[in-house]
Symmetry: C2
Subunit: 117 residues, 2 copies
């Protein structure tokens, strides 16, 4: 059993095409497990396992109604992943911006840009 943080879990869940398809399915409507499974050609068991992964990743919410279990996409989970990716990429995006600006103001160099060896 390996440890996984929230970002890793969400990314891992989204890396599977079938799970993304499930997520699309419940993005606009609340669907029961059976209804989701009916939309695919794999077994109900497989879908149930995928749903569990999505639920653990915080990308899905579960609501019970009698013997049925209704699922819907959880926008908060998606927002959290986006924020995590943004933070992760902040450095890269900032560096790219800096490179562009450094290239634009090459003749105006009173200070070093740090491009040394």
């Amino acid at each position: 059993m390996i440890e996984r943080d929230a970002t890793d879990e969400a990314l891992h869940a989204l890396a599977e095409p079938r799970r993304r398809a499930i997520l699309r399915l419940v993005a606009h409507d609340e669907l029961a497990a059976g209804e989701i499974a009916a939309a695919f050609e794999v077994s109900r068991t497989a879908i149930s396992q995928h749903v569990t992964v999505l639920k653990n990743a915080g990308l899905l919410t579960e609501r019970r109604d009698g013997t049925r279990r209704l699922y819907r996409a959880r926008p908060e989970g998606l927002a959290e992943l986006r924020a995590s990716l943004d933070e992760m990429w902040a450095d890269a995006l900032d560096t790219a911006r800096r490179l562009v600006e450094a290239d634009r103001g090459l003749r105006d160099t009173t200070e070093e840009v740090g491009r040394a060896g």
Copy 2:
């Protein structure tokens, strides 16, 4: 051999913690393959394979300098993934917004909640 679209490839690449670590490493600086490998405790071969995956996913750029190969994060690839995720989640986010507003304006249903802009 299975087909993979750009989103799937990027998501698959990011699902691996080591690859995200590599991406962080080259987010602010251009590094050689050996320098990247030196930052981890796995073999140089493993890093090379991870870098290939990131490169194929469009998340990394390669520049050759003699026998060395320098890598840097490619912000465009990251932006493309973000756009893809945004599009995928548009439905869910829109639904969530609609639910909130429907709950807020239950007595005041005069106009439709358009998804303008």
